[in-house]
Subunit: 240 residues, 2 copies
DNA sequence: TATGCGCAAGTAGTATACTATTTAGCGCGT
DNA sequence: ACGCGCTAAATAGTATACTACTTGCGCATA
């Protein structure tokens, strides 16, 4: 028996999420507007809005104004998970080096699992992404974007949904550190990604893992050399 | 010019977090009360409360009523991270099998790193926890609690802060599935934990990793045999 | 007929005021 | 000295009004 009353806004938020789950509402579905929810949930407007705001910040829904507007179901991206994670890390006084360590530990696993589970289609998509990665080495922003895309494709190919989420969230976090890789590093990264992809194609999980470990070791050295102060910089909450 | 206006409540939440970060406020510190924040932030009460409610749900602060009450700085536990993660997973239509897969992938790494980095003090703490684990095999709840504690100690010993966070959040999630291990499994788990701890003590990372993989394979078989429907059950948002 | 401009309607967001609930602190009485 | 209960402070929740923004629709004009 819950002796301490659950918060009204929490209850409303849970009801909304439960409703979305039960009715299997796809992204883009219009939910009830505020005053309808006020009636259905039997809560005041402020309470309902607190719930909506929380779910919006978590990426579970978007809110749009105007006629035909209102709360709309949304599938949260990794950036929202990264936001929640970064908040926790800030309160744990974590530094970016901790984020990099976690990435260095997890990513090789993800790559190895991708080598075991990737379909030929997924390998093709990875090859296309790699091609774009080579072409984008000139532009720092474009390279970072394509690297992110490559990561996501690897995550999908690994068939390990949750692990992919976490790795991508960590990637998002380290991107947010303000690090900027130079052209030389970007080119080297692309070549390493190339070799990893070859290992994946050969279904050689061990080789892919080893290459990935080397790649992250190189990235670590890059940080140490070019931005040692960033390694000790505390993680702080990112809000998109 | 920021064309897309940042939400007032988001801005306030960010300011509060920023303040906590800059002043390095420890857990338990009383923050300004609502009406003080209303003045300082120049926002309405509803706005301030939306911000406070969000931070409360994220575990960044607690709110207490009554005199001497108000918002109090709090260090969020893994349960909050688990909550955020579960929300994301629900929207990704993830099942508990995905959570278990991720755990199976990450935990061996964590254990291996613990073998490399644990101090003798931490190994002592682990031994004590293991002892309690043996003693708690009679009681399902107590065993689950002590297993959690053991996990947390391993996470600390690994010195990999972020990885520990993630593993513990995943553990929290799988606990929340409603799984119940029988006595035989609890005893076997304790024995396996014992062997892993021995490997950690011997600084044998590879052995610890292999044992951990075996342990998770056994846990997987247990789920398949005793609760196959849970493996395919969708993860849904947990709100403590 | 097409196009652009503006008005109106509907929604999110903000502000203010009031009631209910919780609880620490204090005082009074036995 | 003990405890019962009052009170005040602070949040929780509700109600209502007002503001700002978005967008569809229609009218006027080229």
């Amino acid at each position: 028996m819950n002796s301490h009353h659950e918060r009204a806004s929490t209850r409303v938020a849970r009801n909304i999420v439960k409703d979305i789950e039960e009715r299997q509402l796809p992204a883009g579905t219009k939910l009830d507007s505020e005053h309808v929810m006020i009636e259905k949930q039997g809560a005041s407007r402020a309470t309902v809005r607190e719930a909506l705001r929380f779910l919006e910040l978590q990426g579970a829904l978007k809110m749009k104004a105007g006629p035909g507007g209102g709360p709309v179901v949304n599938i949260p991206g990794v950036d929202h998970l990264a936001g929640a994670l970064s908040l926790q890390l800030q309160f744990a006084n974590a530094t970016f080096s901790a984020v990099l360590e976690a990435r260095r530990s997890i990513y090789p696993i993800l790559v190895a699992e991708a080598a075991e589970n990737a379909t030929t289609d997924e390998i093709c998509a990875l090859k296309a992404s790699l091609q774009r990665l080579y072409e984008a080495t000139e532009d720092s922003d474009a390279a970072a974007r394509e690297a992110r895309n490559f990561y996501e494709l690897v995550a999908v190919a690994s068939k390990n949904l949750v692990l992919g989420f976490l790795v991508n969230a960590l990637h998002h976090l380290s991107e947010n550190s303000g690090i900027d890789y130079d052209m030389q590093h970007r080119q080297a990264s692309a070549r390493q990604a190339d070799r990893i992809l070859q290992a994946i194609e050969q279904r050689d999980a061990e080789k892919a893992r080893a290459l990935s470990e080397k790649m992250h070791a190189a990235a670590w050295r890059y940080w140490e050399k070019n931005a040692p102060e960033l390694l000790n910089a505390p993680v702080s909450w990112i809000t998109r």
